[in-house]
């Protein structure tokens, strides 16, 4: 393999990172005083974040963090809500403005050349690359402010808040932390880190590395076979969908494993993020197993905040669709992500309600599926696999591929 780092997902696979952790972990283990360990951890996190995000990436996060910390300390509901609005606004500005501007221009000007000219004209107003991991920062800040506004005690110690914000193992690809769990775990870690933690952490990191390695090989295959999808025979097309599904799982969960493993080597436990999602036998279970920290965040701070299932079936389904649309868009600024989110929202709505809505037929169907877990597993995986095509490719290409998969083309 060649030493080139590209993209956020590769941060743990860079030589800089290897040289970074070489002194960080031994120092942390050798320093016995918990307060010193906390300080060392903070310095290490700041170095990591500054190195990979750069000044332009660190500054907006510092501003948002300071405001979040202040609003939390004040315990004023309006301050928390105002800061939530600001955080979400920052996320929208940095991550979605360019996409939104492109859509507006496309709608306003039918001529491609005019669109391009206008795009160039507004370019100076659009933000550059979003700050590293802004989606994770914003989700964690929103969680914190929302919970504080509902009566949870804020973090008074700025050190705790800083470490919650920029704890390096989870900075890039999660898991999305909850401060009520993280802070006790942090203190447990600095007081009690032991060789068992290190051993568990190492094994988890190794598992993550193997997954990342497999995912990289699949990425090569997908990049090669993707453009020729239409020329593949039907078996190869479905093989390709399986490859996408495995690639996405191993890439996401591999990174999460490494994050959880590195945290564990500090004695700090991060929440589990994937729980064998491809063994799920229905969509509801799938979302209990897939990117758990994100799906529970969406459930708690979007779905339930909007009323959840408390106001009738129609409202429940609508809330679910909105939650999943946000879940989709969280992964990236593109119609395909939105469609992927809505696709799962619809799937979940059907999965949760078909027994009620279809009456005796629904109940019969549900009973049969429960009796045949292999069939329900197959149907779930089919649904999930088809969804990944939306997730992985721009919308027109995804639609084209799905038409090919259906055998129509």
């Amino acid at each position: 393999m060649h030493p080139v780092t590209q993209g956020n997902q590769q941060l743990f696979l860079s030589y800089w990172f290897v040289l970074y952790i070489l002194p960080v972990f031994p120092l942390y283990w050798l320093v016995r005083a918990p307060a010193l360990r906390l300080l060392l951890l903070l310095v290490a996190c700041a170095v990591f974040h500054t190195h990979f995000a750069g000044a332009a990436g660190v500054l907006p996060i510092i501003v948002l963090a300071v405001l979040t910390y202040g609003a939390g300390l004040s315990r004023q509901r309006w301050a928390c809500y105002a800061t939530i609005t600001l955080c979400v606004g920052a996320l929208v500005f940095y991550k979605y403005t360019r996409f939104l501007a492109q859509q507006v221009l496309a709608a306003a000007f039918s001529d491609y050349q005019t669109q391009q000219a206008m795009q160039l004209a507004v370019e100076g107003w659009l933000p550059g690359a979003p700050p590293l991991a802004i989606s994770f920062f914003v989700f964690e800040f929103v969680h914190y402010l929302f919970d504080v506004s509902r009566g949870s005690p804020p973090m008074k110690n700025p050190l705790d808040f800083s470490l919650y914000s920029i704890f390096w193992p989870s900075i890039v690809a999660g898991p999305v932390k909850r401060y009520q769990d993280f802070v006790p775990n942090l203190y447990h870690g600095v007081h009690n880190v032991c060789e068992t933690d290190v051993a568990h952490g190492l094994i988890r990191v190794a598992v993550g590395l193997v997954k990342k390695f497999l995912a990289e090989n699949l990425t090569q295959y997908l990049a090669h076979a993707g453009p020729e999808f239409g020329q593949l025979d039907m078996v190869q097309r479905w093989y390709f969908v399986i490859a996408i599904s495995l690639r996405i799982l191993w890439d996401f969960s591999g990174y999460s494993d490494m994050a959880i493993g590195f945290a564990r080597m500090f004695g700090i436990r991060l929440p589990r993020n994937f729980d064998w999602p491809y063994l799920a036998t229905n969509i509801t279970t799938f979302w209990h197993r897939w990117h758990i920290s994100l799906s529970t965040w969406i459930r708690d701070y979007v779905y339930i905040a909007m009323g959840g299932g408390r106001r009738g079936t129609v409202r429940k389904i609508t809330n679910g669709l909105v939650a999943f649309a946000i879940c989709g868009l969280w992964h990236g600024a593109g119609w395909n992500f939105l469609v992927w989110g809505l696709y799962h929202g619809i799937g979940l709505a059907i999965c949760s309600n078909y027994r009620t809505l279809l009456g005796p037929v629904g109940r019969f169907l549900g009973a049969r599926l429960e009796q045949n877990p292999i069939v329900s597993w197959g149907l779930t995986m089919l649904f999930v696999g088809v969804g990944w095509v939306f997730f992985f490719y721009p919308l027109p290409q995804a639609v084209d591929m799905l038409v090919s998969l259906s055998g129509v083309k």
Partner: protein, 400 residues
């Protein structure tokens, strides 16, 4: 550290200290094996082909290339290392390669090793390997190639596409440290200060000089099994790279398609990228001279890429393009095209290298595409270069 609470099935099975010991022992074993693998030659190596070059994510290391050369070259014979790019690699020629013909022509006193690699700059790969061999094989000649004109301007002091190999050799202490190149390297470092990928590459190579993980992976991938998927390897990607046959790389054959814009542009770019390369000398006879600016810059760049000890042993080949394509240029472009070759030779010689223009009288049948040779072209190339190599050997005092 205090004994912590174990958890789950793994926790019951896991004994931390034996695990740490195992990891440390395995890591150490890998380092030792990696270090040992530095001396593993690439068995059966004839030349680089698709399956053993960076195009398929196989990155030969400097130490293993040196080991391969050591295994191939006899200390009592004059070592002729062929460097350069796909033209000298023989892409498009089929077997036997032009270097086999060159070996036949040079006779048993010489020993030819083809280390040319697709996309290599004049001083890369073959050039770097030649430099690593100088101590052991003082009777050495490097044959490499460059484009004519400004396009032939050497890469940065550490190379271009395959600069990883330069840094591999550099950090392993296999290279010389001439002041011109050190100055060039400082300039490159300054110019690329914000290039994270470049910094990361150097960081990795520096680390590898201690830990030898590239040598281990490359050695294992060549001899035992590979782990990286590539479309060209498809279902056999785990097969040892050394087991693939040195199949011809077959670049896209295009010389019979008159409308092949890429091929026409390839030749035209040689002319376009060298405006004002040759100037009127201002004398009454209407003579031409190399633009002093180009002369100064290219001479400096060549001297940075080739240390003095290598420079004097280097034969730089400036090969013509397919005449079919050259004839598609305008009359003015053709005139400028033909001026580039002697001018480039003059610059190389001014820098202290030996240079030769080849292919001026080759026919379309000698070309596979717009720049690679067919088998007949390869044979002509060998015929043209053999006397040059002998003359250089005589000049260096290797023969009488």
């Amino acid at each position: 550290m205090p004994q912590g609470e174990a958890n789950g099935a793994l926790g019951k099975l896991l004994a931390p200290y034996p695990l740490f010991l195992g990891i440390a022992a395995a890591f150490l074993a890998c380092c030792v094996l990696g270090y040992a693998s530095r001396s593993w030659p690439y068995a059966g190596f004839e030349r680089f082909h698709y399956f053993i070059n960076p195009q398929t994510y196989f990155y030969p290391t400097a130490s293993q290339l040196r080991a391969t050369a050591r295994a191939s070259l006899h200390p009592n014979r004059i070592a002729v290392i062929v460097g350069g790019n796909s033209v000298l690699n023989g892409a498009g020629q089929g077997l036997p390669l032009w270097t086999v013909r060159l070996q036949e022509l040079l006779g048993p006193e010489y020993q030819v090793l083809n280390l040319a690699m697709c996309g290599a700059a004049p001083g890369e790969v073959g050039g770097v390997t030649a430099e690593t061999l100088l101590q052991e094989y003082p009777r050495l000649i490097l044959v490499t190639n460059a484009w004519a004109g400004e396009s032939g301007r050497p890469s940065e002091a550490d190379g271009s596409l395959h600069r990883y190999l330069f840094w591999d050799a550099y950090y392993k202490g296999l290279l010389l440290h001439p002041p011109e190149r050190e100055e060039g390297l400082r300039e490159v470092a300054h110019g690329r200060a914000a290039d994270d990928a470049y910094t990361e590459l150097k960081r990795g190579m520096r680390l590898d000089a201690f830990l030898s993980y590239h040598d281990l992976w490359t050695g294992v991938a060549y001899s035992c099994f590979s782990t990286i998927w590539h479309p060209l390897l498809e279902g056999t990607f785990m097969q040892a790279r050394g087991r693939y046959l040195p199949t011809d790389t077959k670049p896209h054959r295009s010389e019979h398609r008159p409308d092949d814009a890429a091929a026409i542009e390839g030749v035209r770019n040689l002319v376009r990228q060298s405006p004002d390369f040759v100037r009127s000398s201002g004398d009454a006879a209407g003579g031409k001279v190399v633009n002093p600016e180009y002369l100064k810059q290219m001479r400096r760049d060549l001297q940075r890429c080739f240390p003095g000890e290598v420079r004097q042993r280097t034969l730089l080949v400036i090969a013509h393009c397919n005449p079919y394509r050259v004839q598609q240029l305008t009359a003015d472009e053709q005139a400028r095209y033909y001026e580039l070759f002697p001018a480039t030779v003059a610059i190389a010689e001014a820098a202290g290298l030996h240079a030769v223009e080849v292919g001026r009288h080759y026919t379309t049948a000698d070309y596979f595409d717009w720049l690679h040779f067919t088998r007949s072209g390869g044979q002509k190339l060998a015929d043209d270069l053999a006397p040059q190599v002998r003359e250089l050997a005589r000049g260096l005092g290797y023969t009488r």
